[in-house]
């Protein structure tokens, strides 16, 4: 396209120049709100840990913490991917089935070819997940069907595929004995005392978080979720971005499947069943708005950590683990209440500012 003609528009007349600026008092208000939200979850997490430690000092023992981090790792990876999808005002309910399919695929691959390099196995699991995500995303982006319905369908479809494969291959379960030891050690390996699986999750969260905040296409995901019609009008390739979000989420669910295989080492076709809603819960608790447009992957990761911690802390507090679901439910409601309160506060502050900047 030819160069614009309007390089330096004439300055505006003097009398129309800016009235007194409101200054930087509210700099990065949006950002501060996100941080406030994340601090809220962090506070809840700390409170939970402190209470549990008081009740049972061994809660913070090395092995206990490592187990906790291992359990949280898988949920965190899923939550990171899900965040990208939810931000675009979509949801992916098929991630539990994708995890199962990818775990089974990776396990089968390693049983058939035990000498395969670890990296190849991981990439294969992620590729299976990405393919599933491509199917989800392509249907959502092209057919204009709500993602809730599409991924509800693929939740069953992918699980069915998994079962079909397992029964036709006559390998309904893959046991630890069938898996190469190199792969199994991934599940227990530590780096400076920290489980490697957890470090993988941390890397995923940081990379996704950095991407969402720092790249144009990442910001466009927020735009799409915040106002889909406005996104279209401002030239954002909505279909392409949504498709990408689903593919990345699928790949991360695939990675979660590999992590699952490495951690549990016993794989059947029920792996990951029911995880999808737990993942969405982690995101919501972490401040990712279910209608898109706001929230961060760090919050979602904290949400995943908090939900996992509740699961392990309740028995330590002498409570029946059956209380976990009730606690998770209460937490979701509390998170929604917190979101609402923060929103009202923000609205009130912005109103005050409007009043100042109006003549």
């Amino acid at each position: 396209m030819s160069a614009p003609l309007t390089k330096t528009p004439a300055p505006l007349p003097e009398e129309l120049a800016a009235p007194e600026r409101t200054g930087r008092r509210g700099a990065a208000l949006v950002q501060r709100l996100v941080v406030a939200r994340e601090l809220g979850i962090l506070a809840a997490l700390v409170l939970l840990v402190v209470v549990t430690v008081i009740a049972n000092p061994r809660f913070l023992s090395g092995q206990n913490v490592r187990d906790l981090l291992l359990s949280a790792a898988i949920l965190t990876v899923l939550a990171a991917g899900q965040t990208m999808v939810i931000i675009t005002r979509n949801v992916d309910l098929s991630v539990g089935s994708v995890l199962g399919l990818s775990a089974y695929a990776t396990g089968t691959l390693l049983v058939v070819a035990p000498d395969l390099p670890l990296v190849v196995a991981v990439l294969a699991g992620m590729a299976v997940g990405a393919a599933c995500g491509l199917i989800n995303g392509a249907i959502v982006a092209t057919a204009g069907v709500p993602s809730l319905v599409v991924t509800l369908g693929t939740l069953y479809a992918f699980r069915g595929l998994d079962s079909l494969w397992a029964s036709s291959a006559d390998r309904l379960q893959i046991n630890a004995a069938d898996l190469p030891s190199g792969f199994k050690s991934l599940g227990t390996a530590r780096l400076l005392g920290v489980p490697v699986l957890f470090l993988v999750a941390v890397v995923v969260v940081v990379v996704v978080g950095y991407y969402l905040r720092t790249f144009r296409s990442g910001r466009e995901l927020y735009g799409i979720g915040s106002a889909p019609e406005a996104a279209r009008l401002s030239g954002i390739p909505v279909g392409k971005r949504v498709l990408t979000a689903f593919v990345v989420n699928g790949a991360l669910a695939g990675l979660a499947g590999v992590l699952y295989a490495a951690r549990f080492q016993t794989l059947d076709t029920t792996a990951g069943t029911g995880q999808e809603l737990f993942v969405v819960a982690a995101c919501v608790v972490g401040g990712v708005a279910i209608f898109g447009g706001s929230g961060s992957v760090y919050g979602a990761a904290l949400g995943a950590l908090l939900l996992t911690t509740i699961g392990t802390a309740l028995p330590q507090l002498g409570l029946d683990p059956f209380w976990r679901d009730a606690a998770v439910g209460a937490l979701i409601l509390a998170a929604i209440a917190l979101d609402r309160a923060l929103q009202l506060r923000l609205a009130a502050r912005l109103r005050g500012r409007n009043a100042r900047s109006d003549r």
Binding site: M1, S2, P4, L5, T6, K7, T8, P9, A10, P11, L12, P13, E15, L16, A17, A18, P19, E20, R21, T22, R24, G26, A27, A28, L29, V30, Q31, T214, F215, R216, R219, E220, Y222, G223, G225, S226, A227, E229, A230, A231, R232, L233, S234, G235, I236, P237, A289, G293, S294, L346, A347, L350, R351, R353, N354, S357, D358, R359
Partner: protein, 514 residues
């Protein structure tokens, strides 16, 4: 308005930047544009005027790359181009400010302005500091005191419009299209906007300005293109035109005798509205409607007509004023009370507000009477069917079976079902909002005949309509609404296209005592 002396409008001799040639666009059976043309020159401000439904917004959407034309060509610098999507239009240097701001409420103001065009550091990373700085610089140029870091949520409409303007300004647009940008702005803000438009024009951009406010059109623009019914009417230098000439060209057609309102001796006052005010939407609206009378609320889209009738019926709240039906005060914000008092409202959007599209014709037609038709809390399908059958016969609804979903009916027949639904409540006041929008001519005159007949039977009818011929043909009195105020009350004898349009665009307001 009092303006700083504007630089003498240069004659439109600049190079043609963007042109539309013989553009046609249809949506289904409705032709929104037929043989439309437009020519924008560098360094000119060009006005596009026309009545509601003249095709202006469709034309804007073609320029913005939202719709592709069915026929005709878009020329950029004399070369045919395809504006396949909004991104292509942007790449071509066309910035569009829509009537309704299109912002991302969750993102910061700065991000809203630079979405997709954020300044980058190495590795394609967004330069956040640069982003805020460029945003501040833009605001300084615009004279706006907005914090670039605040979210767009909660901005006033005027501030949102300013963000849109900053957005357009930020990508050095060669063509700036403004679709009624001033509707929500105050005087100072309009001035600021015009200063921006003038400075863009001075630096060689083409500005397309769409507005119903003639003072602004003549104040800002060098040339004026008039459209009517999706067609190009004329393009002239503004200084060669008068407001009267423009209005006549906008209206231009014969008032057809399609709409036969029989004369009725009006009876008692049935509906009494006094000082109705909803802050920021309409203010101090007072009128009476008598039995047997059809009163039209005319005015431009967005003038507040639908909002007034919605408040009267109780769907929307109001801050001050009163509504009385047959002498009895009506509780505000209570549609059920309004129905009980004998008001019926046929809403503007029949698909969204008037009907439950998936339900059958008979279910829809009896929705308002489901309690009366019920026995012991249970709806009797026989009573439902009988009632629906009676009304669809009276209104000549053409439906295969009454048990068919209402979505299978044509637009005109759907409208009849909505009418049946409300007429079966035996109202004393019937409010109809755009009664014939999007329905074919034949059904249209049936609806009109029906309304006339109902008025003759003693019903008080309030009609909101954007179609002037319909207003002039049907109404005993025309109440003209402009920017949330009743500006004129024109009796049938005096009502013609010029008088209504002039009042609606605020031209005649000075001559009317309020």
């Amino acid at each position: 308005m009092d303006h700083a002396p504007a630089p003498a409008a240069p004659p439109a001799t600049g190079q043609v930047v963007l042109a539309l040639e013989d553009v046609g666009k249809s949506f289904g059976a409705v032709a929104a544009l037929r043989g439309a043309q437009l020519e924008l020159r560098a360094g000119e401000a060009h006005a596009l005027v026309g009545e509601n439904g003249a095709g202006k917004s469709t034309l804007v959407k073609i320029l913005a790359g939202v719709h592709g034309p069915d026929t005709g060509r878009v020329l950029l610098d004399g070369q045919p181009v395809t504006l396949a999507d909004p991104a292509a239009a942007r790449a071509a240097g066309i910035a569009v400010i829509y009537q309704e701001p299109t912002l991302f409420p969750d993102l910061s103001v700065a991000e809203n302005i630079f979405m997709g065009r954020q300044p980058l550091l190495s590795g394609r990373r967004i330069d956040r500091r640069g982003l805020a700085e460029r945003c501040r610089a833009l605001f300084e140029r615009l004279g706006v005191a907005l914090d670039p870091d605040r979210p767009a949520r909660g901005l006033s409409i005027a501030d949102q419009q300013m963000v849109e303007i900053a957005k357009a300004l930020s990508f050095d647009a060669r063509v700036l299209v403004m679709d009624e940008p001033t509707a929500a702005l105050s005087g100072v803000e309009v001035e600021r906007l015009f200063a921006v438009a003038r400075s863009l024009r001075a630096s060689g951009a083409a500005v397309l300005f769409i507005s119903h406010r003639f003072d602004e059109v003549f104040d800002l623009c060098d040339r004026i293109t008039v459209m009517r019914d999706g067609q190009w009417v004329s393009t002239d230098l503004a200084r060669d035109l008068t407001v009267d000439q423009v209005v006549r060209r906008m209206v231009g057609r014969e008032v057809s005798s399609l709409f036969p309102k029989t004369d009725v001796e009006p009876g008692e006052v049935v509906l009494e509205v006094r000082g109705l005010t909803r802050r920021g939407v309409f203010s101090d609206v007072s009128f009476d409607v008598r039995a047997g009378e059809i009163v039209a609320l005319a005015g431009l889209v967005g003038a507040g007509r639908s909002e007034i009738v919605r408040a009267v019926f109780g769907i929307d709240p109001y801050d001050a004023g009163s509504v009385r039906v047959s002498g009895k005060a009506l509780r505000k914000g209570d549609p059920a009370a309004a129905m009980a008092a004998g008001i019926a409202l046929v809403p503007e959007d029949r698909r969204q507000q008037g009907l439950v599209m998936e339900l059958s014709v008979e279910r829809n037609a009896t929705l308002t009477r489901r309690w009366k038709l019920a026995r012991g809390g249970l709806l009797s399908s026989r009573a439902e069917r009988a009632s629906a059958a009676e009304w669809s016969k009276r209104l000549q609804v053409k439906a295969g079976r009454l048990s068919d979903p209402v979505s299978t009916l044509s637009g005109g027949n759907q409208q009849k079902v909505v009418l049946a639904k409300w007429l079966s409540t035996e109202p004393t006041v019937l409010i109809v909002d755009e009664p014939t929008r999007g329905i074919d001519v034949g059904t249209k005159s049936e609806v009109h005949r029906l309304m006339s007949q109902l008025a003759a039977e003693g019903l008080a009818v309030v009609m909101v309509s954007s179609e002037l011929p319909e207003v002039l043909g049907m109404a005993d009195r025309v109440l003209v609404v402009s920017e949330g105020r009743l500006v004129d009350d024109i009796p049938r004898a005096r009502a013609d296209e010029d008088s209504v349009m002039l009042a609606a665009t605020g031209q005649a307001a000075a001559g009317v005592s309020r």
